[in-house]
């Protein structure tokens, strides 16, 4: 869902994740600001920009591939169907922007 005047860009989504388990990152709010640790979240509806900072993080995976093993300031631009997961003992701060 891209390049629609009057809709895109959708902007930041509050609580973009489900409370537990794997799920989708869509264009409407769900129930959690941060996904459950080590769960796979799939981008749907529009491409997303995910900004992750802080927390006590041991792994970040994009499409199942490790891209980080520690906390830090990360920005991921994900297309439809791509996945994101973060493994943590202390939740990071995550912002999700919809195109």
């Amino acid at each position: 869902v891209i390049n629609n005047m009057g809709y895109n860009p959708v902007g930041i989504i509050t609580n973009p994740f489900p409370t537990s388990g794997a799920g989708n990152i869509g264009n409407v709010s769900q129930s959690a600001a941060v996904p459950a640790s080590n769960t796979t979240q799939t981008v749907v509806s529009t491409p997303k920009t995910i900004i992750q900072t802080g927390g006590t993080v041991t792994a970040v995976k994009i499409n199942g591939t490790s891209v980080a093993t520690a906390a830090g300031n990360y920005t991921f631009k994900l297309g439809l169907g791509e996945t994101y997961s973060v493994t943590y003992s202390g939740a990071p701060t995550i912002s999700v922007y919809c195109e």
């Binding site: 869902v1 629609n4 009057g6 869509g26 264009n27 509806s45």
Partner: protein, 421 residues
């Protein structure tokens, strides 16, 4: 053929008058055929024809009426009503067949034209006093919509006129179902069940159930005006064509049907048509039947429905349906949604919605929720210029993953009450 009849036949040719000469250019011929009208100076009984008329006779008959060659005459019978009897002139023999029953006369002509032919109906109203079936390849040509009127008077429940021939044309006439005076019809006013049929410049009105039941394979319905009774649960379908495939419905005006203006089947193209005030009882102004696939709706206008429907129900009504192309239409003021794609068990295989203007719907511009998949919605304008706005969403896809495998891009949304796909 008599001169009085020739005047009607020449309408099928290119015509040029030069003095008393009449030049006829028959379709497909490169050279014109030239005839001269008789005048008071004529002293001979045989006229000289030029060019391509070798071995064809042009002369006067015993009543001093000009006879033209047989192949110029496009009508086998000319039918008229003399206020007492229905009559059919055999244009080859000038023999007149007469019957007080129009339907009986048509049965006779159907038998006589076992190898096919053309019947021309002069201006007038013809009472269909029992259901008529044309089983041979017979063209039915009237004198114009509203001029030649086939009026249902039979109390039989069957279709008013059934045509099972093939490679035929039905044109330039009105079929009047006569509702509410006549409430006997449980089928269609015009039942077309052959193949390769052209139905053009035909009006169907005041029908109780179906205007045209186009069970045609390879059929074209064009330039027709189909007007329902505008009564709840009456005139259910303007055109029903769910049975066979490969039909085109073009440049028709379809209004006042209680269910659907068109209820289509597979491989149906609907183009340049106008729909309004249909769906007073249920359904979309255009909908499709079970397992229908490959339906195209393009360049049509859908004005307000009658209060219980949507513009287009783009749904295969089973898992094998779908494959719609909905392109370049203007759909406004539907009580439901502009376009509905039923999901779930009725999921579409594939749908393209492109270049439409969809505005002022009572619900969604496009309703694509319920598990739809495999569709693209590109380059449309979804708007609402009413106060207050009623078009809740331009496009509804459900929350997050309710729909899947879709593209929504390059559309414009403005003034939708909640402009959220």
């Amino acid at each position: 053929m008599g001169y009085r009849n020739m005047r009607r036949s020449v309408n099928n040719f290119g015509i040029q008058h030069i003095g008393t000469m009449l030049i006829l250019t028959q379709l497909g011929l490169t050279s014109p055929r030239v005839f001269r009208f008789p005048d008071t100076s004529d002293t001979v009984s045989t006229l000289t024809a030029t060019q391509t008329l070798t071995n064809k006779t042009v002369d006067y008959n015993s009543n001093s009426i000009l006879n033209l060659p047989r192949d110029i005459d496009v009508y086998d019978y000319i039918v008229y009503f003399d206020r007492t009897n229905y009559k059919a002139i055999n244009t080859l023999t000038d023999v007149v067949t007469s019957n007080t029953s129009f339907s009986s006369l048509m049965s006779t002509l159907n038998t006589n034209l076992s190898s096919g032919g053309t019947i021309f109906f002069r201006q007038g109203t013809y009472n269909v006093d029992s259901p008529i079936t044309f089983s041979n390849n017979i063209n039915l040509i009237g004198d114009g919509r509203g001029q030649t009127v086939l009026l249902r008077t039979t109390t039989n429940a069957s279709s008013t006129i059934t045509h099972t021939g093939s490679n035929v044309t039905i044109a330039r006439l009105t079929v009047n179902g006569n509702y509410p005076t006549n409430t006997s019809n449980t089928h269609a006013e015009l039942q077309l069940s052959g193949s390769n049929m052209l139905c053009t410049d035909v009006e169907v009105k005041a029908f109780e159930i179906i205007g045209i039941n186009a069970g045609i394979a390879n059929g074209l319905i064009s330039n027709c005006i189909i007007t329902g009774a505008n009564v709840s649960n009456v005139s259910l379908y303007g055109i029903w064509c769910d049975i066979t495939s490969k039909k085109t419905i073009s440049k028709c005006i379809i209004t006042n049907c209680a269910f659907n203006g068109i209820f289509a089947g597979s491989i149906t193209t609907i183009e340049d048509c106008y729909f309004a005030n249909n769906s007073s009882s249920s359904g979309g102004q255009v909908a499709v039947g079970d397992s229908a696939a490959m339906t195209t709706v393009k360049n049509c206008v859908f004005d307000a429905d009658a209060g219980a429907g949507d513009g287009i129900e783009a749904s295969g009504q089973s898992s094998s349906g779908g494959e719609w192309c909905i392109i370049g239409n203007r759909i406004s003021n539907q009580s439901g949604s502009g376009i509905v794609m039923n999901g779930g068990a009725l999921i579409n295989k594939a749908t393209v919605i492109q270049g439409n203007i969809i505005k002022n719907s009572g619900a969604f511009g496009v309703f694509a929720e319920g598990g739809n998949s495999n569709f693209s919605i590109i380059g449309n304008i979804f708007s609402d210029d009413q106060t207050p706005h009623t078009q809740a969403y331009g496009v509804g896809t459900g929350t997050n993953a309710a729909s899947s495998n879709y593209i929504i891009k390059d559309n414009i949304f403005f003034n939708n009450f909640r402009p959220r796909p």
